[in-house]
Symmetry: C2
Subunit: 418 residues, 2 copies
Amino acid sequence: MVNASIITIGDELLIGQTIDTNSAFIAQELNKTGVWVKRRVAVGDVYDDIWQALDEEKKRSDIIIITGGLGPTADDITKPLLCKYFGGKLVVNEEVLAHVKYLFEKIYNRPGPILERNMKQAEVPDNCTVLPNALGTAPGMWFNADGKIFISLPGVPHEMKGLITNEVLHRLQETFTMPAIVHETIFTAGQGESAIAELLLDFEAGLPADIKLAYLPSYGMVKLRLTITGVNKMALQEKLQPYYLRLQELVAPFLVSAKDEGLEEVIGNLLKASGKTMGTAESCTGGYIAHLITSIAGSSAYYKGSIVSYANEVKQNLLGVQAQTLQSVGAVSEETVKQMVAGTLERLQVDYAVATSGIMGPDGGTPEKPVGTVWIAVGNKDKTATIKLSLRFGRERNIHLAAMNALNFLRKFILTNS
Amino acid sequence: MVNASIITIGDELLIGQTIDTNSAFIAQELNKTGVWVKRRVAVGDVYDDIWQALDEEKKRSDIIIITGGLGPTADDITKPLLCKYFGGKLVVNEEVLAHVKYLFEKIYNRPGPILERNMKQAEVPDNCTVLPNALGTAPGMWFNADGKIFISLPGVPHEMKGLITNEVLHRLQETFTMPAIVHETIFTAGQGESAIAELLLDFEAGLPADIKLAYLPSYGMVKLRLTITGVNKMALQEKLQPYYLRLQELVAPFLVSAKDEGLEEVIGNLLKASGKTMGTAESCTGGYIAHLITSIAGSSAYYKGSIVSYANEVKQNLLGVQAQTLQSVGAVSEETVKQMVAGTLERLQVDYAVATSGIMGPDGGTPEKPVGTVWIAVGNKDKTATIKLSLRFGRERNIHLAAMNALNFLRKFILTNS
């Protein structure tokens, strides 16, 4: 099997200022083509550390992908280092130069002379294959050395993604005979990792050696991933299929989706299939549910909008929650979220509505309603259902969990009331 | 200087299913106490790979922090490996056992016998110091070996965070004499990385050897970070101060904040200082601006809410956008976002409003209004200002960039109209 290492370069990764999302993307894409990412290493903007990482990873992997350290500013030392590492010299590449000029003049709309540091982006080692970067000034570079492939990419995520998709993947497929990898991921909610594992005890013990089961818990959900590796993709899919189906049966009461997709996609597909619409009324989740739903392309077909009613007066004026309710039982109450659902159904003219109200912390809790208390209601014109959560985390996680629980509650409501 | 390596364990990191946020948190916290994270390595659930990573990182670093691989399911192999690596044997720790029982009975509310796999969480190597995990069943483990410190933590983010904060940091401070590190980060918007770098050419060349400047571009903003390392924190702060102030002067026209904080915090502080309120009307950003603002604790003091008007009828009914406007110039137009601002000011009764309408892609573009066209308006009772963006990325990045531009436009409007 072809192995890869990913080396990410940049002090910002080591002081924790930047979260590394690039590696996940690269790993996903390589994996689909049959390359197994064996290790990911992050090093700082330190010459010797980068050099050492190259030395070590090439001992382990057939492909070494390097991201970061190619920008136009002085803290970027990767290009000269790569040039020296592979024994080349820096020369101006005319095509890259023309592209840099084009970007500055036509796209960035910055007439006038181009800064020398930007012109320098057109310098590349003379012993690499240049990978054109349509979305930025720093080109990708492909080196063949010591029987290994080294690929250097800029760290800006959308530029790196463009290069992986348009330049890197097909070249790797031409260079290596890839094995096949097939994954199937299903996704459950409502049970912890251990309880799910208990259900799958015999199943897991009975898996053949080339099939692997992994548990991926996140935000109250557990994803289960089956992986099989071999030679022929079709044969692997066929071999995996009965295990994939059996897995779905075993966790059926908790199964949300038999695909690796988010709750917001599951709900979107349910609504599209039935031609129904939805809207949201968010207090404590503050627009996060709306954001999740609208992050799906095409969501305007079923999603009309949200009334983010952070202030009580907005709950009254725009959702019609009664002043008396807010006074007697408060905004964080079953009665309030029920009225929020009713207001949403009426004012947004939707088939389904979901509403949240809670105390996300760190302040605002009381002995009766501690931080983490959340009421959720879902409903249609005939029926409303509610649940109460008692979350016990920090603000960010409480918001995520409240949103995920609300979406899952809505999903179940749609399934049983459609 | 004390160096650390972070080893994260789990196939989910190598197939790109999970983005590693743990490392960033650990790096930040270690950094504050004066520990420099030299490398981060991610390896799969593979015995030999984990073992090798331990062998290598201990050659380089004084502290090796390991996360992941401690869960109750069968794909977790770390604990037995660590036990063997350090030559201990697994024994039941009575305190951990009592804690596991407490969690299942009192917190998770799962009466009945506890699963054997959960009871196993109470088994720890007899040669480690147990670090109690208040938030979960898997304890942290602290090993002293070969003159190095090894710390194993669960991969669940909030459990890992609790252990770092409550157990790890003070123990490290007791174990090592830490050097001091001081960072100052400022944050600019409106100019690219190279243009900012050009402004700072002489400044950067004149920095003393112990002060480092880094450029951290993200979403149309550039963060600039100065770092100084030495012995005495007070002396370092004093030495860094004039460079920090000079840096702010040099980028003054583009300076958003002299701290490492988000636009949503900058705006929150402006509004709190003036006792004003705001609301939002979001079409294309779909609640993401509301989410950013409400992610700040205490935002209810100045944020009243949002009308996420994904459907045109919601723009009409809840924001008072005229049907004629939507028909003649469309939802993605200057006139529509102006009316959305007016509707928000009136219906949410706020001092400032910001509105967005655009086409985020991948579908929905036309020759006149291609994907990436976004109109933004901000206003108060006296005045409204608008800008048009032409974004050229994927849906997710377009949403982020539209939100960031809207927030920055609002910030400037508040500064000049308060």
